[in-house]
């Protein structure tokens, strides 16, 4: 792979722009620590420097202005403010446009860079620059200061040259003579300095003693609300920012994909080898094969682990979305993200962004009320959207919960009748009404807004989640809010599957969906309201006859098996001939000609070299429902499973 400096820079710039956005949003929400400003400065500085090195002068030139402004903010010349955050967000967007333009994309709108540069210049106008400020400086030197030749008297005299100082020594640590070591410094100082010099000029005074000493320089006015804690609080923006910084090695994701594929091949071949050894009854191979199985399993888990990314990498993008949307709609909405550290396979994360964006748009546009409406109904002025992720067994559940107006059941019902999705006399439970929202083309929004209601409904979200082998459910309470729950598998590369057989064909049912298997005798088959159902411990469970659904002609055995799976909080059975056992399933995508088969999500190669299709449970249910509807005038196989 040949090194391409521009491609590397673009990748780095993309990450830095993401960091800039996060930091600017923290500033916008009231964060103002030195650390955030340093992060911002470093990010703009790196983009400028690397951009110039790659010959992207437009990017470097524009970024220089923002960097200069941030340097002044860093130096304390200008305060950190929401206005600054807005300016930085605009600058970040402009840099992205400039990067696209300089690498062959569309040109930036004429004058847009100049206008922003003017805004940056106005923010840092000279009259503001000359203003004097009072600084509070805390200097707690390293105890070895005297031994190392440090001279606080000289330092403080130099500091006085910058402006009038009030120096107070803290003698609290000075011990009595018996405990005192005369060459150790026990004193520390608090200094109030009034000067037009910036923070860097003040820091320069301490440049030779700063290492291993505690030095804090803050604008005195900002000191009032300062906490004494040296470490930021666990959930503070500063802390969050710190957690993001980890030592990493940048590896192209294609290499990881290739590694996963190779491990997949290894798993399959190990399985074939085990079967061959079993067939030949070769005991000499038993131990090495067991060891190989263990090593391959470890390798598989480690490789899949490398592809796991914290969902926070996705959540982070949404802060800006909510910030912009709520501003545009005149609403006040806070996004609270929880479970940022929950990990998901990168391939799932890549495809999860769009569905979540759609849900969040809905939450801001349709669910959240205006501040006035909220106050009138006794709610806090600001709406809250809670975006959370958590592990539940082998799944991850992502929830988007708002505290808005909730789904209007009557409006949904009326709309469904208008669209002839239900008869006017149909009685539906709350859950069934909510599921109507997930039907294609359904929308209660009478007006198309720039935010949502653009013809892409929740059905698109549901389709995407189904494609990820996940499921989506809605819950809502009038006046209290709505919760969209999305359940996803941890990975799409290798799954635990249940190997089943129908005739001479073998299929894999994802184990994550399987709840139990039961036997089915011909005498147990029942029909209830036109649906196939089986009684399991008193519960009537609808089932799909896969033999009939897949038009397999071979005769069925006397005793069949029903694999009962969970789909959208309901149980449904799938009738097969035999259950052969669990199987580590390496998912292979289907070729071009087979990709249109909706009911399967992929294929896997079994130990004996045969191919087994992996069933897509939601798609199988949809398929069966469609067949049943056609045959029984629209009576669904599973109520609410649309």
């Amino acid at each position: 792979m040949q090194f391409n400096p521009i491609a590397t820079f673009l990748q780095e710039a993309e990450e830095l722009l993401g960091e800039i956005e996060q930091s600017a949003l923290l500033v916008s929400s009231g964060g103002s620590s030195e650390e955030i400003i340093h992060e911002l400065f470093r990010a703009f500085h790196t983009i400028k420097g690397s951009g110039a090195m790659c010959g992207l002068e437009g990017v470097a030139g524009f970024t220089h202005h923002v960097e200069s402004l941030l340097d002044k903010v860093r130096g304390g010349t200008f305060p950190v403010s929401p206005a600054l955050a807005e300016l930085l967000l605009k600058a970040k967007d402009q840099i992205r446009l400039l990067l696209a333009a300089e690498t062959g994309g569309a040109a930036v709108p004429p004058g847009s860079s100049e206008a922003l540069i003017a805004a940056v210049a106005a923010f840092g106008s000279p009259e503001r620059e000359d203003a004097e400020q009072t600084w509070r400086i805390e200097f707690r030197p390293n105890p070895s200061l005297f031994i190392n030749g440090g001279n606080p008297t000289a330092l403080l005299r130099q500091l006085r040259k910058l402006g009038p100082c009030r120096v107070v020594a803290d003698t609290g640590e000075v011990p009595e003579l018996n405990e005192l070591q005369p060459d150790r410094c026990y004193l520390s100082w608090t200094i109030h300095l009034t000067t037009a010099s910036d923070r860097n000029a003040i820091r320069d005074v301490f440049i030779f003693v700063e290492d291993d000493s505690h030095l804090a320089i803050e604008v005195a006015q900002a000191v009032a609300g300062k906490t004494e804690s040296a470490e930021p609080a666990a959930n503070s923006p500063e802390r969050v920012l710190k957690l993001v910084k980890e030592a990493t090695v940048r590896v192209p994701s294609q290499r990881l994909d290739r590694l996963v594929n190779l491990v997949g091949e290894l798993v399959m071949n190990q399985s074939r080898l085990a079967q061959a050894a079993f067939r030949n009854n070769n005991p000499e191979l038993a131990n090495p094969l067991q060891e190989l199985e263990r090593l391959v399993a470890e390798l598989r888990d480690d490789v899949l682990g490398i592809r796991m990314l914290p969902i926070g990498t996705l959540f982070g993008r949404f802060r800006r979305l909510i910030h912009d949307l709520s501003k545009g709609l005149g609403k006040e909405v806070d996004l609270v993200a929880e479970g940022d550290e929950t990990e998901l396979d990168k391939s799932i994360l890549d495809q999860l962004g769009e569905p979540l964006i759609h849900c969040l748009r809905n939450a801001v546009d349709h669910a959240a009320e205006t501040p006035e409406e909220r106050l009138a109904s006794g709610k806090p002025r600001r709406a809250t959207i809670r975006l959370s992720a958590e592990h539940t067994g082998s799944d991850v559940v992502v929830r988007i919960q708002d505290d808005g107006r909730g789904i209007d059941r009557a409006a949904v019902r009326q709309r469904a009748i208008e669209k002839q999705l239900i008869a006017p006399s149909t009685n539906l439970s709350d859950k069934e009404i909510f599921n109507l929202v997930l039907l294609p083309g359904f929308s209660t929004a009478r007006q198309v807004t720039s935010v949502s209601g653009r013809g892409v409904g929740m059905d698109a979200v549901k389709r995407q989640i189904d494609a990820l082998h996940g499921s989506l459910t809605l819950a809502s309470e009038a006046g209290k809010g709505t919760c969209v729950s999305i359940t996803l598998p941890l990975t799409l590369a290798i799954i635990e599957g249940l190997l089943v057989e129908i005739g001479s064909d073998r299929f894999i049912v994802p184990m994550a969906a399987v709840t139990e298997n039961v036997e089915l005798l011909a005498s147990q088959r029942e029909r209830n309201n036109g649906r196939n159902v089986i009684a399991v411990r008193g519960e009537l469970i609808p089932y799909i006859d896969l033999r009939a659904a897949f038009a397999i002609d071979l005769p069925a055995p006397v005793i069949e098996k029903v694999v009962i799976v969970r789909h959208e909080d309901q149980r449904v059975g799938m009738v097969v001939d035999r259950v052969l056992g669990t199987h580590q399933t390496v998912i292979q995508s289907l070729g071009r000609f087979l990709r249109t088969i909706e009911v399967v999500s992929g294929a896997t190669i079994l130990g004996d070299g045969r191919v087994a299709l992996i069933l897509d449970v939601p798609a199988v249910v949809r398929f069966a429902e469609h067949r049943t509807r056609s045959a029984n005038s629209g009576i669904p196989i599973m109520a609410g499973a649309a």
Partner: protein, 112 residues
């Protein structure tokens, strides 16, 4: 007045009596280089006397380490219910105290 020779430096230390007890007079150029000897002299002085006075009128130079030492002497005496008097402070000592924001003559608790 006795003389302490420390490396190239020499400081003068003299103990005299007055009405309040004894006065320790220290003269010369005082910095970290003499801090250890001065520490010893001060420790010996304060442990013998019920009350004490320091005469610093002839101190030509005084750095932070030495000022810290004087402060510690005062804290030691005050810690055991005794008192210290600064019989005189040279300009150099006053200047060092002002530069460092450290008062030798105010109350120990106030000096912070």
């Amino acid at each position: 007045m006795g003389r302490l020779q420390i490396g190239h430096k020499e400081i003068a230390v003299r103990v005299t009596k007055d009405e309040s007890g004894r006065v320790l007079k220290i003269a010369g150029s005082l910095d970290i280089g003499v801090a250890e000897e001065l520490h010893r002299a001060l420790r010996d002085f304060v442990c013998q006397e019920s009350g004490a006075a320091l005469d610093l009128t002839e101190v030509d130079e005084c750095d932070t380490a030495v000022l810290q030492l004087f402060y510690s002497a005062r804290k030691t005496l005050e810690g055991s219910g005794r008192s210290i008097q600064f019989a005189g402070l040279s300009h150099a000592v006053r200047q060092a105290g002002a530069d460092l924001g450290l008062s030798l003559t105010g109350s120990a608790d106030d000096a912070v």
